[in-house]
């Protein structure tokens, strides 16, 4: 990663002091969300929802020891195709490419 152009004036300890509790809570939100998904009623042979699979893959990025995690998580959750689609399938987006997208993976 290139050197930051406007380095954060805070020390590493300052950053942790300022943000740890907030992000501890966000981490627990993810844990509780995954527990909630597990508890929810589902068919015996129902495959895992592609969005949960994408989230599990993203969680691996958080702890792989490399930088630029936000960029890499966003790329992981991006459509990697390059061609225009014939018609817009509605207006919304779901946050990660659906299985119908040939994502080159």
């Amino acid at each position: 990663m290139a050197e930051p152009r406007n380095p954060n004036p805070m020390s590493r300890t300052d950053v942790v002091d300022a943000y740890f509790l907030e992000h501890r809570a966000k981490l627990l939100d993810i844990a509780a969300f995954l527990d909630r998904v597990d508890r929810a009623d589902h068919g015996a042979d129902e495959p895992e929802d592609f969005r949960i699979t994408s989230m599990r893959n993203a969680l691996q990025v958080l702890d792989d020891g490399q930088g630029e995690r936000a960029r890499r998580v966003l790329e992981l959750m991006s459509d990697a195709t390059t061609d225009l689609v014939d018609t817009a399938p509605g207006k919304g987006a779901c946050g990660t490419p659906p299985p119908s997208t040939d994502n080159g993976a």
């Binding site: 406007n6 004036p9 936000a70 014939d86 817009a88 399938p89 987006a93």
Partner: protein
């Protein structure tokens, strides 16, 4: 600290929001034409919307000492019906004469479809012919990176100069490409689906403040018209200098928008 919110949809906001923005130091805003949360059923619906943008909102903003400007277009979410979009585009020349119109926007892509691209290219040609500034919407979530690259390629096929085009809604996976290609970049501060004030501050730390601004894009959905002052507080909390904060939230909008002689920063 005074600031400019260069992308906010005040047609969806209450008068209380104007008051709170003024109290927080907002002196000027720009409002791109966008999707109202429903498809308009006729070009007349857009005619009325453009009147709202060019007549009603400037008067409403003026009550709080805020200078209101706008951008006109058919947004990409209503561009899939290309024939309809072209009918609406025929209204643009008339409204482009209004004194608060800064250029064409927010044009771009939504689901990266062929018709969206056709209408984008027609808007770009329209802007090129009339030497207009351009404000670009990039797609949401999983469609953003692909759409951003397609949009920049489309602009590269025109004579539009990158320093007269702002590519909005950048995030960590698109900001470098946008800046490297000479465009201005906008960070939109949303509670969930775009940048948070904290991540915007992170991006400023990594990429600096050249050709980079932030906006609330406050609209009818989950959004916050005070997002820019909250980002100011975040940068201040980290110890960034007043000069850095002022450049990202005031000077950069003034520089880009000031390329239009119609832009008035107000008391900033």
């Amino acid at each position: 600290m005074t600031y400019i919110d260069p992308h906010i949809h005040m047609v969806s906001r209450t008068t209380d929001d104007y008051r709170r923005m003024a109290l927080a130091g907002c002196t000027a805003i720009t409002e791109p034409a966008f999707w109202a949360g429903f498809d308009r059923s006729s070009p007349q619906g857009f005619f009325d919307y453009y009147r709202q943008l060019t007549q009603t909102e400037p008067a409403r903003a003026a009550q709080y000492g805020i200078k209101h400007h706008c951008w006109l277009c058919v947004n990409p979410k209503e561009a899939e019906d290309a024939g309809f979009a072209r009918e609406v585009m025929s209204l643009l020349p008339e409204f482009l004469e209004e004194s608060n119109v800064l250029g064409i926007g927010e044009i771009g892509l939504n689901k990266n479809s062929r018709n969206e691209m056709a209408i984008l290219e027609e808007h770009l040609a329209f802007a090129e012919d009339r030497d207009q500034l351009v404000l670009v919407h990039t797609p949401h979530l999983e469609d953003k990176r692909k759409g951003t690259l397609l949009i920049m390629d489309a602009i590269a096929n025109t004579r539009l100069k990158p320093d007269r085009v702002l590519i909005d809604h950048v995030e960590e996976h698109t900001v470098a490409d946008v800046l490297d290609r000479g465009f201005w970049a906008g960070m939109t501060l949303y509670p969930e689906t775009k940048c948070t004030p904290q991540r915007a501050a992170d991006i400023i730390e990594v990429f600096g403040t050249e050709r980079l601004w932030m906006n609330s894009a406050g609209d009818w959905g989950d959004s916050d018209p005070l997002a820019v002052p909250k980002a100011i507080v975040e940068l201040r909390r980290r110890g960034h200098s007043p000069e850095t904060i002022r450049k990202a939230t005031l000077e950069n909008p003034k520089t880009f928008l000031g390329q239009s002689p119609r832009f008035d920063p107000g008391d900033a």
